[in-house]
Symmetry: C2
Subunit: 376 residues, 2 copies
């Protein structure tokens, strides 16, 4: 275990975040959801969307960039659809509530969808898609879908200017004995966070991640990030990479598809109009869906075939030099199991920031968990 890492139980971490959010006037249910979404990201091995974001959320709520006490407004509702104006609220609570309503609608009519507009960062998309699998929400087998647009940083194929965000999409489908299939992916080749990691390490980016302001391959992370911050041009390329040779136009198409379903369909901002200014966060929009399995097939038979499919994938002989073949979500479920057993690992720096954030709100710091005597 690295000495610059500490471990905290999920319960302690969640209680801490919840209390911090409560001091910022979030309603009890909203504070609970916001905490749950952050900790879920750490548990799934996506720390860029985890509690490391808490200080940013606290600053957003304090400054009023995110609104703690607005009531999201129903813009349009039909038996199969829902459009919610979040009015600048935090993303997670309004998103979870909307996905729950979408699930309730799908229970009635078979398939339902919802948009949330004028929202803020909602954490990991997979969280909402997976609500469709939550037996506490529905005993029916459902397939869940979640997407969001984000601040523009992605450059269209053959272009030079950012026109879409990382625009993730998530898709969750239940299995029986196997873990569920949970795809949760940015439609850009990588996220901004990955470029930042290379920047901190002063390493060159792999060619095929980013372009400069002329649209040519860029491998200097500082230059790419500087260009993004000051809106000079260039940015991250879509899934599939530069040009069309490896299918970059496909990732570009997926990113725009997500923007159409989130931004255009909800009547909100889209494309280059979504941007993070220094000191503000982008107002983004989300799209959620739920599909009842039994409107197609007997659910138990579906689950058993899902088992066959997923087991056949994870049992594959690996390529020479590789250890294992996964299916989407499996790595994350295994990581979560390890976190439940050993606590959630946090870099010391993140832990110290949480301590500061807690101190400013008079919320006690989560206790560091001792693991097998190797406390750190």
């Amino acid at each position: 275990m690295m000495t610059d890492e500490v471990r905290v139980t999920q319960e302690a971490l969640k209680a801490f975040c919840r209390q911090v959010f409560r001091t910022l006037r979030l309603a009890e249910e909203d504070a609970d959801t916001a905490a749950d979404v952050l900790v879920a990201a750490d548990m799934r091995g996506i720390p860029s969307h985890g509690v490391a974001r808490l200080p940013r959320y606290v600053r957003g709520l304090r400054s009023g960039l995110m609104c703690a006490d607005v009531s999201p407004e129903v813009v349009l509702e039909t038996p199969s659809s829902l459009v919610i104006d979040a009015r600048g609220a935090m993303g997670a609570p309004v998103s979870a509530r909307t996905m729950r309503q979408v699930i309730t609608k799908a229970r009635e009519v078979g398939a339902a969808f919802g948009c949330v507009r004028d929202s803020n960062h909602f954490g990991i998309a997979g969280y909402y898609a997976m609500l469709a699998l939550d037996p506490a929400l529905t005993e029916m087998d459902m397939i869940g879908l979640a997407m969001t647009n984000t601040a523009a940083l992605g450059v269209p194929t053959f272009g030079r200017d950012p026109m879409f965000g990382t625009n993730p999409l998530a898709f969750a489908a239940p299995a029986d004995e196997e873990r569920a299939f949970v795809l949760d992916m940015a439609t850009t080749v990588v996220t901004r966070g990955k470029v930042e990691v290379y920047g901190r390490r002063r390493a060159r980016l792999p060619e095929g991640w980013a372009v400069d302001e002329t649209g040519q391959p860029a491998t200097d992370p500082e230059h790419v990030l500087h260009n993004l911050t000051y809106q000079i041009g260039g940015g991250i390329v879509p899934l599939g990479g530069l040009g069309e040779r490896f299918g970059g136009h496909k990732g570009y198409g997926l990113a725009v598809m997500v923007d159409i379903l989130c931004g255009v369909l909800s009547g909100a901002a889209f494309g280059a109009d979504i941007s993070d200014e220094p000191g503000s966060t982008a107002r983004v929009s989300h799209f959620f869906g739920a599909l009842r399995v039994d409107t197609f097939r007997e659910p138990q038979a579906f689950r058993q075939d899902m088992d066959r499919l997923l087991c056949s994938l994870r049992s594959l002989p690996p390529a020479a030099g590789e250890a294992r073949v996964y299916f989407a979500g499996l790595k994350e479920f295994e990581y979560a199991a390890a976190c439940r057993r050993d606590g959630i690992p946090l870099p010391r720096k993140v832990y110290d920031q949480l301590m500061e954030t807690g101190a400013a709100c008079d919320v006690p710091l989560p206790a560091v968990r001792t693991v097998g005597g190797a406390n750190c």
Copy 2:
């Protein structure tokens, strides 16, 4: 103009295909649809899925591998869903009929989906997604969705054996003055057809398209195709390429998502169980969806925002050395317009094969169109 290319009008080509299908006992409506789907592929610049496939379809129908005179069976139907067993019919007619029914259902309930199982090759996925935009089918603004699984040739990230097909997904959304947004993409980095083109040219494949039977990068197209034909191992990698560095696990996840919606949800074959044997074609399954725009937003406002989005994309300054930025579907619409003006270009070899196919069915050959005196 190359001398080994001829041009035929879309009307003549469609009439020819329709007559050929009629001689093979396809009902009038089915023959019409099958012809329309083939010619639509050529018109959209996807000749691999166009009339070049006619001889293969004719062989399939003659040998009974595709059934001309079966009646697809409704397995399950609800107000928002439909599962059809094609019973080995040609893919295009049953697919178009199912998508039309899905659109009718979406008119009633807002969002509807349909699966077709035990079907055959259905041509281009985009054709069916675009039916949702066809004013002859519905005056309502809709978003269309179409997917299919195909014979396994795609190798999971870190694996060495094919477990999924090119598994394309298509998404179509209407605009107002702009052409519609039509994404139609294989979820593998390339299709088998592209590897075959490199094989015929005796060129090396770009590294990052395929792996050999040990899961290592393969650049010899003959070797890759031989391995696929004889099921030795190896194949094409997912969108995002080899390993996880450029997001190959995302394309892998998308391919499995398509298989879940097509194969598992319809109760049909999936994964490695779908394979083309020499002399037979894979029995595949499809998934279709339609979403009414007005259940989210006033349709005219949606179309106008689509115009703004799509215009902003195609008006971007291109990267240094590139001519233009497109959005998904734009290139194909422009190509189709040129085909309407100048005729559809066919390689002489394809034209000769059509001539043979026509002669065997007593169907007269489509006339070659003279273009601006430069007949060829």
